[in-house]
């Protein structure tokens, strides 16, 4: 293991060359992580059959043909039950490396969602059954996260000794992570007898309908941003 300073300077060099290389179309920037046990020129794997087929169609495969590829992670499978979106959420739910428990909990929540949705579907009169399309809990969760993602966030910025709460736009990834966090917080906050997965299921279904606690939190945040509109220029000053 090289010393920390050498590692930092190496990373700095790597990032500089990467920036330089980004401007040239001939070379593709290929690895996702900077600090890893793989050399930097290893590319990320494409384990979904539809994505691979797309690569073959567009001809991108030729570029990847001569470059070594990383191993697929233990979460990656090509089975139809895999959802990359949910996988990220499971990682956020996980505590102390207990992936098994996190996955069980989220899957139980989805089971509850599915059961509820099917109940609802069967209780509807036949004319309305046609409109009730979303029964897949993964899709529902996707929709819920979209409804819960904030566009702007308040950040504390210090100007003249005073910390102002300044509204700042937030990029997609950060917004998604915030949404995950809020779901988990809301599901933890409950009466003693209610299970985490039950509460999570309820929150997801509410959020997919644009109602419920988590969406309210997002709307409150947006209202606060509107209220602090006057401080917006502190972002640049």
């Amino acid at each position: 293991m090289s010393s920390l300073t050498k590692l930092i300077s190496t990373l700095a060099r790597v990032s500089d060359t990467k920036l330089a290389l980004l401007n040239h179309s001939n070379v593709q920037i290929i690895s996702s992580a900077k600090m890893s046990q793989y050399p930097k020129y290893f590319i990320d794997p494409t384990f979904r059959n539809d994505e691979l087929n797309a690569l073959y169609e567009t001809g991108e495969v030729k570029e990847k043909a001569l470059v070594p590829c990383r191993a697929a992670l233990t979460e990656h499978t090509s089975s139809e039950f895999y959802s990359s979106f949910t996988r990220k959420f499971i990682n956020h739910v996980m505590r102390k490396g207990n992936k098994q428990l996190a996955r069980e909990v989220v899957e139980k929540a989805f089971e509850v969602i599915k059961k509820t949705q099917i109940q609802k579907y069967h209780s509807l009169p036949p004319e309305k059954k046609v409109d009730f399309t979303i029964r897949d809990p993964h899709e529902l969760f996707h929709q819920a996260v979209i409804n819960v993602k904030p566009i702007m966030v308040l950040t504390p910025i210090k100007r003249g000794g005073v910390r102002y709460q300044v509204p700042v736009p937030v990029d997609d990834l950060q917004a998604t992570i915030l949404a995950y966090k809020w779901f988990i917080e809301a599901s933890k906050d409950k009466e003693r007898t209610v299970r985490f997965y039950n509460k999570l299921a309820k929150e997801i279904m509410d959020a997919a309908n644009n109602t419920g606690r988590v969406v309210k939190k997002k709307l409150d945040l947006h209202k606060q941003c509107e209220a602090n509109r006057a401080y917006a220029h502190y972002r640049w000053n």
């Binding site: 990383r70 191993a71 697929a72 090509s78």
Partner: protein, 413 residues
């Protein structure tokens, strides 16, 4: 700097009317401003032809003119030349010793000395001097002296002190010479491009070099190649210049030049050898992959081709793995290649934990399945990350820290 002696021959030939040739010459008129008597002719002037006269002048000895005294070589120069000479002698000696050693080794190992390759030598040394040292460079080695001793440049300037390389005074002549070569190539390509545009020849994408699959030589390797210390700024400059050259639409014409400074990334040998299946008594084809690893786990996986989708892991069903992620992992290669119900899998997994063992079985299974699918599917498996050893291991704990990355609680005071 010692001056060199220049003889300036100025021959003016005057052709007069008629037949006679009249040759007039000024010998040694140059820097000394001397006019010598034209002595030493064997025949009178007006009987000589022009070419004969010139030949005579060239053959004339210079002993009449005093040579300037030889300038003494400075001590630094002497030391430098001595060093270069010593290095040459040293390398020669090392080479002879190496050759003798090779013969002795061949004798000991009863191998043929002439056909012995470096690999054979390495194997022999590993056998004769087994070492438990972790670092390969600390173990006993017997290699050609060129590989062991760092290369040194031959004498860079002659006895008079004049350097051989025109860029010597840049201190890194090989490096800057390389950059200049790259620019020269670039200018050449530009000219070709102009020609093609003038002739209305269309450009195609295969006129441009493909850089994927190879990477620039590292700073260290480049320094070794050029026998000069290349610093960070110079290395960046090198990469920028070479990349600019490679970006030219006609860069395939200078492919040899560019590829000299690149190394290929893929270890083709690892991918090329797909084992042929063996056959059981009842005619079923099978392949065994041994030594599949993941974290601390090892697995040997056997795949029988005309099968019914049975799993036998350590004499248990697939329920040997109780968590769903591990089960997904071992069925991943089968789902990917669409062989889920068509093969039988037998595996023995030792050591490690759930994730390690299932990861090892997955890798072993994927490697064994290569023999039962076509080349296109093998390539797909490689791109899916199934045929790559996951060599990530648990990071060690460091002294002064509670864990691998965790630092002690930060206290303000």
């Amino acid at each position: 700097m010692a001056t060199t002696m220049l003889h300036k021959h100025r021959v003016s030939v005057l052709f007069s009317f008629g037949r006679s040739l009249f040759v007039r010459l000024n010998v040694l008129q140059g820097e000394f401003g001397l006019h010598q008597k034209c002595s030493g002719y064997s025949r009178p002037i007006n009987t000589l032809s022009a070419s004969e006269a010139i030949a005579e002048i060239k053959n004339m000895p210079d002993e009449s003119r005093p040579m300037p005294a030889k300038k003494p070589i400075s001590k630094a120069m002497k030391a430098y030349l001595l060093q270069a000479k010593n290095y040459d002698e040293f390398m020669k000696k090392q080479n002879t010793e190496f050759q003798i050693g090779r013969r002795h080794l061949a004798n000991i190992m009863s191998m043929d000395a002439d056909t012995m390759s470096q690999e054979d030598i390495d194997q022999a040394i590993e056998f004769l001097f087994p070492s438990g040292l972790y670092e390969p460079r600390a173990r006993p080695m017997m290699k050609s002296p060129e590989l062991i001793f760092p290369p040194k440049k031959a004498a860079e300037f002659d006895e008079s002190g004049r350097p051989y390389h025109s860029l010597f005074y840049t201190m890194n002549p090989n490096f800057y010479g390389l950059l200049q070569d790259a620019v020269t190539e670039y200018i050449g390509l530009n000219k070709e491009e102009d020609n093609m545009i003038r002739k209305r020849i269309s450009f195609s994408s295969d006129m441009k070099i493909i850089l994927s699959g190879s990477d620039w030589l590292s700073q260290e390797k480049l320094s070794n190649l050029l026998i000069e210390q290349i610093d960070d700024a110079q290395y960046e400059q090198f990469k920028n210049v070479m990349l600019r050259l490679a970006e030219h639409p006609l860069s395939n014409k200078v492919k040899d030049f560019i590829m000299k400074y690149r190394y290929s990334l893929v270890n083709e040998a690892a991918l090329a050898e797909i084992p042929k299946p063996s056959y059981e008594k009842d005619g079923r084809a099978y392949v065994t992959f041994k030594g599949a690893r993941r974290k601390n786990a090892y697995a040997d996986v056997t795949v029988h081709m005309p099968g019914t989708g049975k799993f036998l892991i350590n004499d248990c069903d697939i329920e040997y793995f109780q968590d769903i992620q591990s089960r997904e992992q071992i069925t991943f290669p089968l789902i990917f290649t669409a062989l889920l119900g068509k093969v039988d899998v037998t595996a023995t997994a030792i050591q490690g934990g759930t994730t390690g063992q299932s990861g090892a079985v997955r890798y072993g299974l994927a490697m064994a399945l290569r023999s039962f699918v076509d080349d296109k599917m093998v390539e797909r498996m490689r791109l899916a990350g199934l045929l790559q050893v996951d060599w990530r291991t648990r990071e060690r704990k460091k002294p002064g820290q509670p864990g691998a990355r965790r630092k002690p609680t930060w206290k303000a005071r």
